[in-house]
Amino acid sequence: MRALWTHVWKEWREHRAVLVGIAVAVPLLTLGALFLMRGEPVTLEKAWPVFVAGAAVLAALSLATELLAGELQRGTLAFVRRAPGGLGLALAGKLVAYVGLTAAAAVLARVAYVGGVRLLAPDVPVPSVLPAETFLFAAPVVVLGLWVLFLSTWIPRGAAAAAAAFLVLGALGVPAWLAHRAWPSFRPPSSVVATGLAFVVGVPLVGLAIGLLRGHRFATRAWRPLVVSAAVLVGAAGLAYGYGFRALDAWVHLTPYDDDFVIAHAVASRDGRTLYVTAARVDASTGERDARTARPWRVDVASGAWSEIAPPGSGAYDVLDWTGASIGACETGAGLVGVMGRDGNAIRWVDADTGATWKTLPTDFAPAELVARRRDELERRTTVRSADGRPVWMLEKRLEWRGADGGLVARALPDGVFGGWAHRWGWMGWRRQDGGGSVAVAIGVDAEGRVVAGPWGRAGTKAVHARLGVGRYLSCDGREAPRGARRWTTVDAATGASVPTPGLLPRDEVVLAVSERTVVVSGEPDAAQRATPAVVDVETGERRPWTWDDGTPMRVTSLYGRATLGDGTRVVGVGASDRGAGYVLVDATSGAPRSFTACELATHPYAIARVDAVGVLLVGRHEIVRVRWGTTTTWSTRDVVFPRRRRAAP
């Protein structure tokens, strides 16, 4: 031990002039900088890591470029080589001196900072004279110096070794930088970070030992150990990056069993036996889905077996998602599913029932056969009816339906009307105004087969519930106004005449459409942000509290998404209530709630397919569940369809 400290003393003695210079410069520079910053207390308070790191850099680079390279240049290595401790003890002494003196410089900077702040800006709080973070900020600098020492065994010139260290570290960092550019939301697991740290710290130490103790062991320089140390560097880098990229690869290739697996959306096949689920990873820090990790799976509903159908960055979508006028309800499964890759240049159209590829087409290209298939889908799945009960759909800015002879009838939208998004029972669009701007309109087909778009004439209105099957829609004047300033009207789609809607109050918010004439509204929220809902018949104006059979009110904060069970007697609504997020079963005739089940659901879930007359598939954040009710009962069974065994191998 005495011999070791003798070597440390020797290093101090040899570099005494430089170290004394640093010991004088650090406090002076620190005080000088504090003097200049004394008028910016916020900056002063946060600036101390810069002083510490700066002092560490000064000491580390001064020492690292001289401890070994200087010794080799001056030829004094022969003297320590023939001492009994040899180069091993000399190396130990150099490392102890290097780390100790660099840490001392960091401490000196911190102490100078504290003293300077108390002298120049006493209002700036300094809770601790020497927090542990002092050494944390100096640590990276110490590691950098180790690389300079390591490369000094190859390049016995201090400045050149320092430059080489920066180059080597820069080159080593390139793969990590490229990976971060490609996958910026990837957060390496702690094991990868630890491996990286072990590499950054361990390789220069090992390389230094090999390069010095073997490369300079004898009076003549041996090249082989230097080659070996280079091989250690390359090999260790390969291993570390191999481990890291393996973790990246596992992260990129999302599986349903990963902790941050989140379902974006799901599409059921027409026969209800297959699901096309698109999921992605969630960035833990932002809560956002990373689209680059999204990928679709094809899931067998009965067995739960799943298979990947596209690489990361892809998604599978309902064919109606591309029509620009979606139905807005998804109780029926899709006949065609589009799989789009990361570049978005092409879509692979897949028969949803069989999984067979129908065609692969450029994204913006819709040939006649694709349009025909879209039309088939719309016709089969539309819930919108004309005034005389015909299925009506919108395709390529035209409303279409079947005439009495079964032939296709297509009518363009009225002049100046554009857009068109579907509510359950009708479309809403926009009509351009002569003076500029546009107003919302309701679009439908009257009993005479005419396309109608309800004239508005008033700004700030919005139709919220289309009832175009009876040729009317519900409008909320002053939709964007605060509650209490609204006016609910029922508008005749053909004439535009409006009358106040019976039963609806200015403070109401329509949260669930049970049927064309029955809606659930939420009243004004109380202090706990809970709204008291009511069921309103918008034809008669009958209004009654939305309560359970025992009279307990069903309190909701939001309801979004609904589906009608196959027998048409019940409606499932999904959303949040005072019981948490979940789904509620509602009587389609009376609107009375029958049951509520808490369930973790996605942000905008919807029942995606009817399993049968008494069941529905619900999309959750991490899983898809099948819920079934008895024919006459309100209790339900619930089982997970996908993924069947969480965190277990498929």
């Binding site: 020797k10 001056r74 004094t76 023939r82 001492a83 009994p84 401790g85 040899g86 004898f218």
Partner: protein
């Protein structure tokens, strides 16, 4: 006295690149014996000393110091061996005091008194850094440090080279004084035939990578007893040896 040689080279070979400097050297140095290595520049004298200290490894053959392998047991060997290089190689900022302070913890047998006695006897300035000393003063400081270690084997690499006669005499007296302590084996490489004749128990002539001649001065020069003009006779022997080695190479 132990029968084991203090220093032993057996069929040692060592080359540098394509040049084979030593090619089958066999030489033993007994405890308390002084052997002087003679040879022209580049004969391999310094190489042989570095092999003994473990600063080089032999290509073939074996080297032992007090029965130890100087490469594998470097630490132990260097604790037993005092080495004076052909020029002072300690840190230029070191004074004699700094030199002693640095070396003391490495050598369990370190004796400050012995070192200071040597410093005084050799008239080495104690408060002057090495870079400010003359070469002779530096050599004497290194010799004093080597003696302070109380080594069992003393290796001297051209200790008299480049010294003026006064300093050379100082160093020579210092060496002779160290020899009087007894029990210490010495291997000295030098060109100084006069010094060799004064201190050597045996001389070994290194030529052509081998020990060409070895024996007492009288044996080497071919007389029954040591001649009065031993340096001149040794010079003649050296010249003759070099010539025969050169002729052998030519043929």
């Amino acid at each position: 006295m132990s029968s084991r040689p203090a220093l032993s080279f057996h069929d040692v070979a060592r080359g540098f690149g394509r040049r084979r400097v030593l090619d089958g050297v066999t030489l033993d140095v007994a405890p308390a014996e002084v052997v002087v290595l003679l040879g022209e520049n580049g004969a391999g004298k310094s190489t042989l000393l570095r092999l003994a200290l473990g600063l080089l490894a032999p290509t073939t053959g074996t080297v032992t110091v007090c029965g130890l392998d100087p490469v594998r047991r470097a630490r132990d060997v260097r604790r037993l061996v005092g080495y004076v290089p052909d020029r002072p190689d300690a840190y230029p900022w070191m004074t004699v005091g700094d030199l002693f302070r640095f070396l003391r913890p490495h050598h369990p047998r370190w004796d400050d008194r012995r070192g200071l006695d040597a410093v005084e006897a050799l008239r080495v300035p104690t408060d002057v850094p090495l870079r400010a000393m003359s070469k002779g003063q530096g050599m004497k400081a290194m010799l004093a440090a080597a003696l302070a270690q109380d080594p069992e084997v003393l290796l001297l690499d051209e200790p008299f080279s480049g010294l003026d006669p006064v300093v050379r005499e100082d160093v020579l007296r210092g060496v002779i004084g160290a020899l009087r302590d007894g029990g210490r084996a010495v291997l000295c490489a030098t060109h100084e035939l006069d010094a060799a004749a004064r201190i050597a128990d045996r001389v070994a002539v290194l030529a052509g990578g081998r020990i060409a001649r070895v024996g007492t001065v009288a044996e080497v020069v071919g007389t029954s007893e040591e001649p009065a003009n031993a340096p001149a006779r040794l010079q003649a022997v050296l010249a003759e040896t070099m010539a025969s080695v050169g002729a052998g190479r030519g043929s």
